[in-house]
Amino acid sequence: MSTLGRTGESFEARARARTAGMDWVLLGLTLAVSFFGIYMVRAATESDVSGDPGFFFTRQLAYTLVGLVCMFFILRLDLERLSRYVWTIYAILVASVGAVLVLGASARGSTRWIDLGPVRVQPSELGKVVIAFVIAVVVMERLKAMDPARLTLMVLALALLPAIIVFLQPDLGTSLVYAAIALAILWVAGQPITHFAAIGAVLLVGVALVLYLLPAVGLNVLQPYQVDRLTSFVDSGSDRSQAGYQLEQSKVAIGSGGALGKGPSGATQTINDFLPEHHTDFIFAVVAEMFGFMGGGLLIAAYFILVWRAIVIMRLAATELERLVAAGIAAMMAFEVFVNIGMNVGIMPITGIPLPFMSYGGSHTLTNLVAVGVLLRIGMRGRAAQAGAA
C-alpha cells in the first residue's frame, strides 16, 4: 500500500466513523426535494420581480445552504444534555413568539417576523422543532411519575400557550402544527385512547363554536379572511372572496396540468400570475401544472418515503426522549405535507401551512432542514446503540 493509500484509508475510516448509522435515504431525499424546490421557486417566479428573474431563486438557494450547514452541526447535538435546559428553552420560545406580537414586522395583514437587520426571522417556524423537543422532554420525565390525565392536560397547556400567541399573530396554520406535534407525542408515548377521544370532542365543539355559534351571537374569534379560507374549500365556486379565488386558480392550475404537465414555459396559470402565492403555500400547484400528475404524484411519493424514514428512525431511537422527539418531527412533516397539498387540491381548508423543502421562505426552510438534522442524529445514535447491543 502506498502512503497515499494509507492516508486515504484513514480518511475513509474517519468518514465512516462520522457517518456511521447515517440514514442515506432520508438525507438524499431531503437534498433532492430541497434542490427541486429551489428549481421550482425559480421556475415559478422568473417574471415576478421585473429586472431580476433570480430574485427568489438566489434567496432560496442561500436559505437552503444555511439550512444544510445548520443540519451538519445538529448531527453532533446531544439532546439528553440539552434537556437540562428545557424550561429555559421553552421560555425563549414563548418570549420570542410573544416578541413578534409586540415588535414584529408585518406582511399581508399578519405579523410573523422579527427584523434582525438584514434578515427577518419567523420564530414560530423554528418553534415547531423546539416545541417537539420541549414536549418530548416533559412527557419523558413525567410519564411514569404523573397521573396520565394531568400529564395530558399539562402537555396541552404547554403546547397551547405558544400556539395561541402564534394564532394571534395571526398564523392559524403554525398554531395547528404545534397542536399536531403535541398530540402525536402523547399518542406515541402511549397515553390512553380516551384522552384523544375527549380532545377530539372538545375540538369539534370548539370548531362549531368558532365558525358558527359565536359569530351567530356576534362574537368573532377568527378574522373574516380566516373563516373564508377555512370554509371555501367546501364550495370554492360560490366563494367570491380572495380565498375562493386562490383555491379556484389553484385547482385550474393543477387540473390544466393534465397527466404530464404543461412544462415550465407553458404553465400560464403560474407565470402569468393567475395563481397567487405560487412560490410559497401554493408551490405544489405549480409542480402539478408544470409536470402534471406524474410530477405531483412523484413528489407525494417522495414525501411518503420521507415520513416513512422518520418513522423508521423513531423505532430505532436509543432513548425514550429521542423516540418522542422523532415522533413529533415525523408528525410535523406528515401534517404539513398533507394539509398543504390538501389545500392545494381543495380538500383541506386554506390555513397557511407551507410545503416542507419546497415552499419559499428562510425560517421555514431552515426549520425543516434542522428537523431532518435532528432525525439523522437520532438515527445515527440508534443504530450505534443497536450495534453496541449486538
Binding site: 387540473g255 396540468g257 393534465g258 397527466a259 393567475f274 400528475f293 415520513v307 398533507f338
Partner: protein
C-alpha cells in the same frame, strides 16, 4: 408505530386520488378555464359602409374620430369624482356634467367606457394628452362616426345610427353582435344594417392576471372588415330640388305645418327623391346636445315623422283618376259619353256641391279631369253605388291604396285607408247614428272625389300614378339600388328583384285618363296649366291637383304628375299640409323637382295652380 405509517400512507393516497381526479379525469374542463384566463380577445371596430346616391355621390360616410372617454372602474374613488368635476369645468360644462353622464351610462352597462365627448377637437386632444398623468381613467379612444356631407339632406331616408337598444340586445346578440356596437336604428341605416355593418377585427392575445399583454403576445387575429357601400336609387340633385321646394312652399305659405314629396322612376319603381319637412339632423342622437335632442323629439312639427310614407292625407281630387279607372273598367262610363256637370247636384235628397259651385255643362271624362269637375265624378260615384260590387274599393286596392307599398323602409310606412262597409261598421257610433253603420250613397259619392274617409300617403299616390304613367304596372318602389364594394363592383342588386303586378286596365281606357291628366296640366282650363303650361314641348307634364279638406279648415294641397307625358321618366307626388289657401302650392314643388331630373329650366314653372 406501524399505525403511524399506515395513517400517513392513507392520507397521502387520498391526495394522489384527488390529484388523479383533478388532472386526469377533469383535465379538459380545467384546461379550458386556464385558456380562458390566459387568452383575451381584443376587438377592433370596423367602419360602417358608406351610403351613396345612384351616381355614387356620398350621402353618409364614416370618419375616424377620437372620443373623450371615461373608464368607470378607474373613477369610483373620490379622486375620480374630482377628476370628472375638474374636467367638466375645464371644458366649460357645469361641474357635475360628466359625473352625471358616467352615472347614467353605468346603469346600462357598468364596465363599458363612457363617451364624454364625441370627436374631440384637436385642442381638447392636446389638453388631455398633456395632462394624462393628472387625469387617470380619462382616455382618448379611436372610433368611427357617421358623417353627413349634405347636412339634413335625406334625413328621413337615411335614418340614423345609435347604440343597440337595451330591450333588443338579445336579438342582436343572436346575429353575432357583441352588444356595444353602433347600429342602424332608422331609415336605410336600419333596413340595410346587415350590409352596412362592418365585421369587427378580433385579436387574440395572451395576458397575465393584471391584464397586461405578455409572452407570445398576439396569438391569432382577423382584420376588421369594413361594411359594404349601399347605393341608393336616390338622385342627389332631384332630392335637393324636392327638399328645397317643399321648404320654400311651407315657409312662404305661412300656415303650413309641413310637406312631403316622393319622386319615382315609373319604369323601375326606383325612388329618385323622397322628402319630408320639417326635418332633422341625422347625427343629432349621436352628437347633439340634450336640448337639440329634446327639440327633435318634442317639436309640434314632428320632424322625425317621415310624412312621405307615414303621413296619411285625404286623397282629394287626385283620386279622380282612380274613380275614372273604376268607372271605365266596370263599364259605368263609356269613353266619349257626355255627363252634365252643374255647380251642384241633388242626389238622394241631399245637395252635393261642386268646388266653388262652378258649372261646366255637359262634358266628357278628359275634360272633367282637366277642370276637376266634382259633379261629374259624383255621377260616377252614384253609378258605382248603384251597381253590384265595390268598384271604387276594388280599384283603390289595385292601385295599391289601403296597404303599405312594400318600400324597403318597412318601419314607418302607413297603410292609409280605403273605406268600405266593414270600416263603416267598425267606426260608426251605433247608439247615436245607427244608419251610418251601413255603406250609404253619400259614401260612394264623397269617395269618388277622394274625400270621405279615403286616406293615402304621398308614396302610395306616386306609386299609383306611376302605374298610369308606365302603362299599367304597379311596381313596388325601392330606395336601395345595389350593394357595392369599395371599388364600385356590384355585390348585390337590390332593384331587379322588386315585385310588380299588372293593374288590369286596358290601354284604351288608360289613354282616356292620360288624356285628361295631360289636359289638366296643359289645357286652356286645366287646373295646373298656370304651373306647367309654359314648359318646353319635350317636357309636357300630365297630372292632377288636389285640395284636401281636413279638420284644420285650411286645405292640404296635393299635386301628382308625371313627365314627359308621352314617355314618362319621373312621377312626383307632393302634399303641402294646410298649403291650399287660394292657390295650389304643391304643383310648383312638383315642377321644380321634375326640372332637376329632366334638366329643364325651373324658371319655366309657374308659381301657383288653381285649387281643386
Amino acid at each position: 408505530m406501524a399505525s403511524f405509517a399506515g395513517v400517513a400512507l392513507v392520507l397521502l393516497a387520498v391526495l394522489v386520488v384527488r390529484l388523479w381526479f383533478l388532472q386526469v379525469v377533469s383535465n379538459q374542463g380545467y384546461q379550458q378555464r386556464a385558456e380562458a384566463n390566459r387568452l383575451r380577445t381584443v376587438i377592433t371596430e370596423a367602419p360602417r359602409g358608406a351610403i351613396t346616391d345612384r351616381n355614387g355621390k356620398a350621402l353618409v360616410t364614416s370618419k375616424e374620430v377620437l372620443n373623450l372617454v371615461a373608464l368607470p372602474q378607474e373613477l369610483t374613488s373620490d379622486a375620480g369624482t374630482r377628476t370628472l368635476r375638474h374636467l367638466s369645468r375645464a371644458l366649460g360644462h357645469p361641474a357635475g356634467y360628466f359625473q352625471a353622464k358616467v352615472a347614467k351610462a353605468q346603469k346600462v352597462s357598468p364596465f363599458e367606457p363612457v363617451v364624454l365627448q364625441q370627436d374631440a377637437p384637436p385642442a381638447l386632444q392636446a389638453y388631455v394628452q398633456e395632462r394624462q398623468a393628472q387625469l387617470p381613467g380619462i382616455e382618448l379612444q379611436a372610433a368611427y362616426q357617421r358623417e353627413y356631407p349634405n347636412g339634413t339632406l335625406g334625413a328621413h331616408i337615411l335614418g340614423y345610427t345609435g347604440p343597440i337598444p337595451v330591450e333588443s340586445i338579445t336579438t342582436y346578440r343572436e346575429q353575432g353582435y357583441l352588444g356595444d356596437e353602433t347600429v342602424g336604428r332608422a331609415g336605410v341605416e336600419g333596413e340595410y344594417e346587415r350590409y352596412l355593418r362592418g365585421i369587427a377585427g378580433r385579436q387574440q392575445v395572451e395576458v397575465n392576471a393584471q391584464g397586461d399583454i405578455v409572452g407570445r403576445g398576439v396569438i391569432s387575429q382577423t382584420a376588421p372588415r369594413p361594411g359594404e357601400t349601399l347605393r341608393l336609387s336616390i338622385d342627389l340633385d332631384v332630392q335637393k330640388a324636392l327638399e328645397k321646394a317643399l321648404k320654400a312652399q311651407v315657409v312662404s305659405s305661412g300656415t303650413s305645418t309641413g310637406a312631403a314629396g316622393v319622386a319615382l322612376d315609373p319604369k323601375t319603381g326606383a325612388v329618385l327623391a323622397m322628402a319630408s319637412y320639417p326635418t332633422y339632423q341625422p347625427d343629432v342622437f349621436e352628437s347633439g346636445t340634450p336640448r337639440e335632442v329634446r327639440r327633435v323629439l318634442t317639436s309640434p312639427g314632428r320632424p322625425l315623422l317621415n310624412r312621405s310614407i307615414g303621413g296619411e292625407y285625404p286623397a282629394a281630387s287626385t283620386f279622380k283618376a282612380i274613380t275614372a279607372s273604376a268607372a271605365l273598367a266596370a263599364g259605368l262610363y263609356r269613353p266619349g259619353e257626355l255627363i252634365e256637370a252643374p255647380g251642384s247636384v241633388v242626389l238622394y235628397k241631399t245637395r252635393f256641391r261642386g268646388f266653388n259651385n262652378e258649372a261646366f255643362g255637359p262634358i266628357a271624362l278628359p275634360k272633367a279631369l282637366e277642370v276637376s269637375s266634382d259633379t261629374f265624378f259624383y255621377a260616377l260615384g252614384d253609378r258605382s253605388y248603384r251597381m253590384r260590387g265595390w268598384p271604387l274599393q276594388e280599384w283603390s286596392q289595385k292601385y295599391g291604396f289601403g296597404s303599405p307599398t312594400g318600400l324597403d323602409l318597412a318601419e314607418g310606412e302607413s297603410a292609409g285607408l280605403v273605406p268600405d262597409l266593414a270600416y263603416k261598421r267598425q267606426s260608426c257610433n251605433r247608439k247615436v247614428d245607427p244608419i251610418n253603420c251601413s255603406w250609404r250613397p253619400g259614401d260612394s259619392i264623397n269617395m269618388s272625389i277622394g274625400q270621405g274617409n279615403v286616406l293615402v300617403t304621398p308614396l302610395q299616390m306616386a306609386t299609383a300614378y306611376a302605374a298610369i304613367a308606365n302603362g299599367g304596372k304597379v311596381i313596388t318602389p325601392t330606395l336601395g339600388n345595389a350593394v357595392v364594394d369599395t371599388d364600385g363592383r356590384v355585390l348585390r342588386d337590390l332593384i331587379s328583384a322588386r315585385a310588380s303586378r299588372a293593374l288590369g286596365l286596358s290601354a284604351s281606357n288608360l289613354d282616356v285618363i292620360k288624356q285628361g291628366l295631360l289636359l289638366a296640366a296643359n289645357g286652356n282650363e286645366g287646373t295646373a296649366t298656370p304651373v306647367f303650361g309654359n314648359l318646353p314641348p319635350a317636357f309636357k307634364v300630365a297630372g292632377k291637383t288636389g285640395t284636401a279638406e281636413n279638420p284644420s279648415k285650411i286645405d292640404h294641397a296635393w299635386y301628382v304628375g308625371y313627365a314627359p307625358a308621352d314617355d314618362p321618366e319621373i312621377v312626383v307626388a307632393v302634399v303641402v299640409e294646410r298649403g291650399g289657401q287660394g292657390a295650389n302650392s304643391a304643383a310648383p314643388a312638383v315642377c321644380e323637382t321634375m326640372a332637376a331630373d329632366l334638366k329643364f329650366d325651373s324658371s319655366r314653372c309657374g308659381t301657383a295652380a288653381k285649387t281643386n
